[in-house]
């Protein structure tokens, strides 16, 4: 297979994997994933990313709980403010709708992270210009490397999007104040690979020369 075809296949095959077998990653696989992150681009080559590899069950449970709380809190708020009902307005099947509401408000949608063999905590130095962008590039490299190894991962921000949760996470893992927690990435051997999510077409996404003039007609 040509390089461009192999690359596009990996990009197209990537999914957010939330179901894992008990299978473990090898140290070679872990190293390749981390190496792909290390090679990501960064502003002024600052390389502000640092990674914490979490395998300990108790620590993974802590991350699962804090993720569950973060998601559950947010979606319960969305339910109470009726934003969630609006979002699912077009879903006609009441049973499916209720099941989705239940999963979201309970926080279960983010509580799966401890089922993965490892969780990477991605943190970024604050005292550089572009930490969120740099670390996001590293994370995308991680996700693609994971896919190329037939492993599964999910980019999870639930345990650190709210500053209150981020502070708890930083205290638990002894992360110094000069770093910001960017995301966590559970990685394991997938037991279920979901179908691709709907994507907006290029016709709607791309403009020619200025906003509003579609590039693809």
């Amino acid at each position: 297979m040509e390089k461009k075809d192999a690359f596009f296949q990996v990009v197209a095959d990537r999914r957010s994997i939330r179901d894992y077998t008990d299978g473990q990653l090898t140290e070679d696989e872990i190293k390749m994933i981390l190496e792909s992150a290390r090679l990501a681009p960064s502003g002024e080559n600052a390389q502000p990313w640092r990674f914490i590899v979490v395998k300990d069950e108790e620590k993974k449970k802590f991350l699962a709980q804090i993720s569950k709380n973060g998601s559950g809190r947010r979606f319960t708020g969305e339910y109470l403010s009726k934003q969630m009902q609006q979002r699912f307005e077009t879903l006609q099947d009441e049973e499916k709708k209720r099941a989705a509401f239940k999963k979201l408000t309970s926080g279960e949608v983010s509580a799966f992270v401890d089922k993965a063999h490892i969780i990477l905590i991605v943190i970024g130095k604050k005292d550089v210009w572009d930490t969120p962008y740099d670390c996001s590039a590293a994370i995308e490299n991680i996700l693609l490397a994971v896919t190329s190894l037939d492993l599964g991962a999910c980019w999870v921000i639930a345990p650190c999007i709210d500053v209150r949760d981020e502070l708890k996470l930083k205290a638990y893992f002894d992360i110094p104040d000069e770093y910001k927690v960017i995301s966590i990435i559970p990685i394991g051997r997938p037991s279920r690979v979901p179908r691709p999510r709907p994507r907006i077409s290029l016709e709607e996404l791309v403009f020619a020369e200025k906003y509003g003039e579609f590039y693809y007609q």
Binding site: S71, G72, R73, Y79, S81, R98, F101, K102, D162
Partner: protein, 147 residues
């Protein structure tokens, strides 16, 4: 109003707006601690119960009046004539919902200290001279029972 006070309020809005322009909606989750250190300094390290916060805010003229209603899943706080109303008005002028409220943050922190779970601030509902702050106490699917 003294010009320095006007400037300070404008600055608070400008900083939040710039942050919103950079981070988008997620900015609201980065502002859930804003004001808490001040209120801790004023009212004690472990922010006392909601009734005490309410009395302290009124006594110190941060607000005209506050009413608190609570049920199993949420806390509703109606804040009248708050000293920060001008900042909310700036958001309204820009047609963006207010990002954060230090008074809501104080109540949220108190609830978190009390029960161990951080609440979620729902979109702030602005009325003429008051704000309705609704806090979801925690994430729970039990909330589906509430129609």
């Amino acid at each position: 109003m003294h010009e320095i006070t006007v400037l300070l309020k404008k600055l608070v809005f400008d900083v939040q707006k710039e942050f919103y322009d950079e981070r988008g909606r997620g900015a609201r989750y980065r502002l859930t601690r804003v004001g808490v250190p001040f209120f801790e300094e004023m009212m004690g390290k472990d922010l006392p119960n909601m009734e005490h916060i309410k009395e302290w805010l009124i006594k110190n003229k941060f607000c005209g009046d506050i009413t608190v209603n609570e049920d199993e899943f949420s806390v509703e706080i109606l804040v009248n004539n708050c000293c920060l109303l001008d900042i909310r008005s700036e958001w309204e002028k820009h047609k963006v919902p207010p990002l954060a409220c230090p008074i809501a943050n104080a109540f949220m922190y108190s609830i978190e200290l009390d029960g161990g779970m951080a609440p979620e601030l729902l979109p702030i509902e602005g009325q003429e001279n008051s704000c309705k702050l609704t806090l979801a106490k925690m994430g729970t699917s039990e909330v589906l029972k509430k129609e």
